[in-house]
């Protein structure tokens, strides 16, 4: 069993980056590995937007990630600063009554991703417990 942390950096629709990331996550879980978290950075934060509006024969990544979370209980974290800069906001941010952040996603600081990797460094001797970072 390997533990993975997934780092997604590209916006859906513009690229197929996030689709590969999700496919990886699902296959990894099927194979008995663990996905500790998926972290969205740079344009990757657009994956969390409920404003994505696609035809039914196209891939809606926000919906896909939300379903993935429901099925597998994997935290979907996004960098709160990267999100704010790209107009993705959560409801509780004051002065902004509306929100386009899907409920499955949690706005966090960058440290959320790196603490997971750091925990890794401390347990270096125990290879099975180390978390591997994969960027998309």
């Amino acid at each position: 069993m390997q533990r993975f942390a997934i780092f997604v950096t590209k916006s859906p629709y513009d690229s197929r980056n996030a689709e590969s990331a999700l496919r990886f996550c699902e296959a990894a879980i099927t194979a008995g590995h663990r996905i500790e978290q998926v972290f969205f950075y740079q344009s990757g934060v657009h994956n969390s937007s409920t404003f994505l509006d696609l035809n039914t024969d196209e891939i809606n990544m926000c919906k896909r990630w939300s379903e993935f979370k429901l099925a597998n209980d994997v935290p979907l974290n996004l960098c709160v600063t990267a999100a704010a800069r790209r107009g993705i906001v959560a409801e509780d941010q004051k002065s902004k009554p509306d929100s386009n952040l899907a409920a499955a996603f949690t706005p966090v600081g960058m440290s959320e991703y790196f603490s997971a990797l750091n925990e890794n460094a401390k347990n270096e001797k125990d290879a099975a417990s180390t978390i591997k970072s994969i960027q998309f």
Binding site: V80, T81, S95, M110, S111
Partner: protein, 123 residues
């Protein structure tokens, strides 16, 4: 006919009144233009924060402005402590000392008083 709802407008602008001038603020309540700063700006913000400024406060305020000019970055707490330690030694360059001066968070408040943008949350 019902008046259309003005929901696609930019957020309302806030201002800081300093000596009869209205200075633009950003949405975090920080000074929008770094060049608008003067000591009176620091005093006006200090009043908002219920803070009576002494020489030690001013030393930090001037230091963070200098930091910003050198590095084009609002200093987050860790960098602020390290930089102050290098310049003033460990008595001043430690986070307990700075927290005593600015109980609501030295990086957060000192940068505000110094007219800088709010340091990024996640750094």
């Amino acid at each position: 006919m019902e008046a259309s709802k003005p929901h696609n407008t930019l957020p309302k602008q806030d201002f800081l009144k300093v000596k009869g001038r209205e200075l633009e603020l950003d949405r975090h309540g920080y000074l929008a233009n770094y060049e608008d700063w003067s000591e009176n700006v620091a005093l006006a913000f200090a009043e908002q924060e219920d803070l009576a400024l002494n020489d030690k406060h001013w030393e930090v305020i001037r230091f963070v402005r200098e930091f910003y000019e050198t590095y084009d970055t609002s200093p987050a707490i860790r960098a602020l402590v390290k930089a102050m330690k290098e310049q003033f030694g460990p008595e001043v360059g430690n986070s307990r000392y700075l927290h005593r001066l600015f109980p609501d968070g030295p990086a957060k408040i000192a940068t505000k008083l110094a007219g800088l943008p709010k340091p990024a949350k996640c750094l």
